[in-house]
Amino acid sequence: RQLCFAWGPAEVLVCETLFGRKGGFPSRDEGGPGRALLPGTLTGCVAGTEDGRPSSSRLFVVRKDQDIYIQTLRKLFNESHGIFIGLQRSEEELVEKSRKAHLVQVSKNYRSVIRACMEDMHQAAMAARDPALQSQYSTQVSILSAMELIWNLCEILFVEAAAAGPLLLRLLDWVRLHICDVDNMVREVLSSENPSKHELFWNVVDVFVLQGRMDEARHLLSKEASANPTSVNMYKILDELMKKMPVPSLSNTQTLTEMELKWQHWHEECQRYLQDGTFASNSHMESICKILLGDEDAILEKKELMTTWYHFLVTRLLYSHPTVKPMELRFYAQACMDLFLGGESSPESLDTILMAAFEFEMHQVIKECSIALSNWWFVAHLTDLLDHCKLLQSHNLYFGSNMREFLLLEYASGLFSHHSLWQLGVDYFDHCPEYGRVYLELHIERIPLNTEQKALKVLRICEQRQMHEQVRSICKIMAMKALRNNRLGSALSWSIRAKDAAFATLISDRFLKDYCERGCFSDLDLIDNLGPSMLLSDRLTFLGKYREFHRLYGEKRFSEAAKLLLMLMTAHIAPCSFWMTLLTDALPLLEQKEVIFSAEQTYELMRCLEDLTAGKTDKQKFQDDDDETMKVEMLRLALARNLARVIVKEGTLEGS
């Protein structure tokens, strides 16, 4: 079995060849669902052309960046492009102090775009009637959700670089935002008439406690207390404990040490109550107290309510090390993941990515994401942001550009395979200092130009970046197309844009050829109104002037016409091949009743005629048909007659 392939602008064509074998061959089918996330997915197959053999050969079209074509992701690409450009532009103006705040805002903007896209995708999934489409959308929603989860964590740890204290608060927010599996349950209990009697009541209280939502937990507990007078005392104590729990503050009202001290006291108080058996009669409350004490087993019991190991991690940190430092996270993270998964299941790609983040291994995060995700959008933008945070300086890849640039180039190249999103790609290439320009030059020439407006947009991009080669090349393509469609004015317009003298000459020759064949000019509106563009090429100038000659003749301004005609030959504006025609045009002027050409001019004309005929060899003269020789003879005669008349006229005294 052998494979042959051919590279296209955005795709690779692959087919099997059966060198030396007869008969059919089973074709390889598309990658199964599990491979949907690979960058180079086999996207489809086209039945191969028949070559007479009974075998069925198939042609595969391998296209990377399939995601570019997902309709609902377009918003993501467009909006993030705007944010990206804003970030690059604001780079110059950023002051050190507000820099971090600005970068955090940018990060939040990216995340809100991801969420908006998720929302749209979700709506689309619900509205879709085709089950395959629906499942595709749902998959996309979960991928986007995972992306947002990872980005959010990176924002907390890397962009904001939250310090011990606020770090925990941010992580709590993070968990609350992303663990939505329990939302339904919470809603159900809260909206029921008698929440405390609901079978899931204690689950919801536990959820609140696990997520550090103390106020909500206390509120629910109060309902229980009022319904159950016997446990009022227990409730009061627990409520008090929950109320007094010290949490890190975002403002500078207390230092870390102060907080730690307070926390230590509080912890001991909880311990006392537990050991006194205060909560012994109510297992639920007892377990809550244990959770407050950070008892690992107690927290692990609520595995179902936490659903993920990182929730477990944050809860544990909240109740055992609220002042955790960023660099300490890795130890807790690894331990928590091992405990939570407990050897039953192995970590998935999302888990490894998050773990890498907790370990502050940025490059690992990016690498894992590149592998797991099916397009470059996420890693390109995240890496760019991290680069702006000046966190990625050290690594340089072997071929000169750094990781940020590499990812941006890959992402933008993917955009260029799309018939419309390529415009976004241009700006990305602009911000890749090493290879951006080269990539742009290569890609921009391959955009299909099906309308003039599209060609104009591409041209504008090239001109703004001084890509003269590409301008010339594109204008030539458009001019050639116009010429083939007999749109001479359009063709001229394109040559003017490119300042392409050679093409202008080509167009003028075409006009002149038409004139010679038909005896009149086509497209007079163009030739009569050439204006300064006439100077673009000699041939074009000649065309314009020649037409002017005809106009002057038509308006009976003979002496001006005569002067112009002569000038066309003597100034060598006219091509030699046309001189005969010009001289023939002079004939009627020579034959006029009134003498038009002066002696000087007549001599010039004669000289031109001689130059023309002298240039021909004897053999050519022999081949000239009668018409040619007769024309020359007539001209000679007319010139001689004119000369005679003009000598007499000029020799005569004017006046009286």
């Binding site: 492009h81 018939h419 419309s420 700006d427 099906n450 469609n485 004015g489 359009s490 509106d525 109104n529």
Partner: protein, 335 residues
């Protein structure tokens, strides 16, 4: 490619918030697939929209308001095409359409002008090879006359009553024959015409006199795609461009400086000074010198990125669309 014609509704019609500022996002009411790029479109009447396609087809869509759907009502295939089907290189896009119910005029890359009538199967009139270059835009000058602009910088008037296939008048730019991309006529004063060029220049023409523009205003840094006079406030003009900006030109300043007005009116002076003039008759657009505190020009887009391809304005509403696949609506233009 999946191109669609869509109808959106903007803002809650019954729900005005306290300060009247907040507007909800535009809601998509209905859409329909369209073959080829949408090059231009215009409402024919309350329900019908005429759309020009890059395939050279002109389609009339009907918007059914009772059940919020769109349907294709009528189609003229190959309204624009290149002559020789066998040697032709690709199709010819229909670049501009203008309506004056029931008449529809279209122009295209093939230099052809078509006059259609709604509900009539064939074209009423076709002028083949009306122009040797691409016709970029068309608008009505009077009920029987149209204005076209082309890619060699010419503005032409065509009289549709006449049978000959020649323009009745040709105007061109001075200097370089920069392609003209858009044209609009002053709503009240039919002799004032504005055009936008490939170099972003705004030209104002007085078509009663001369063959050259009255004023040339250096505006955008790239192609000006559309120019529109405000239909009810014609002292206001709007232009949008490939460079991503949308400019609002405002000449509604107090015209109390009477004497200076006549001095500055350039080549219009010779014309006007011979008549007793009512000050309010002279339009500020024909003044040659916009820098003398006569015109206020504002860029309505704060963070420009990609091209603004199209705009439209009616009453206090301005709507425009960009290459970043976004539509913007401003409902308080003169606030």
């Amino acid at each position: 490619q999946d191109n669609r014609i869509s109808i959106w509704s903007v803002g809650d019609l019954g729900n005005v918030s306290l300060n009247g500022e907040y507007q909800g996002e535009p809601q998509l009411l209905c859409d329909i697939r369209h073959n080829g790029d949408v090059m231009d479109m215009q409402f024919l009447d309350q329900e019908r929209i005429v759309v020009a396609s890059s395939t050279g087809t002109v389609t009339v869509f009907r918007h059914h308001q009772n059940n919020q759907t769109l349907s294709a009502n009528q189609r003229w295939e190959k309204a624009h095409y290149h002559v020789d089907q066998y040697t032709s290189c690709g199709g010819a896009a229909c670049t501009g359409v203008i309506c004056n119910n029931p008449e529809i005029v279209t122009v295209g890359e093939d230099g052809r002008i078509n006059l259609f009538k709604a509900d009539h199967k064939d074209a009423v009139r076709t002028i083949d090879n009306a122009d040797s270059s691409t016709l970029h835009a068309v608008t009505f000058l009077r009920a029987t006359e149209i204005l076209t602009v082309n890619s060699i910088g010419q503005l032409k008037i065509w009289d549709l009553r006449q049978q000959r296939n020649e323009p009745s008048q040709i105007f061109s730019l001075t200097g370089d024959r920069v392609p003209l991309h858009c044209v609009d006529r002053h709503p009240n004063k039919q002799h004032i015409v504005a055009t936008g060029g490939q170099d972003g220049m705004l030209s104002i023409w007085d078509i009663r006199q001369g063959t050259m523009p009255v004023s040339l205003l250096n505006a955008h840094e790239a192609e000006m795609w559309e120019v529109h006079f405000h239909p009810s406030n014609p002292d206001h003009l709007f232009t949008c461009s490939e460079d991503g900006s949308l400019w609002h030109w405002d000449t509604s300043t107090d015209i109390s400086e009477k004497p200076s007005f006549l001095h500055q009116a350039g080549n219009s002076t010779t014309y006007f000074s011979h008549n007793t003039i009512n000050q309010s008759e002279i339009s500020a657009w024909l003044s040659n010198d916009p820098t003398k505190d006569r015109m206020e020009i504002t860029n309505l887009i704060p963070n420009q990125t990609l091209s603004v391809n199209s705009l439209d304005v009616l009453g206090p509403c301005l709507v425009y669309g960009t290459d970043a696949e976004a539509i913007y609506v401003n409902r308080h233009l003169f606030a």
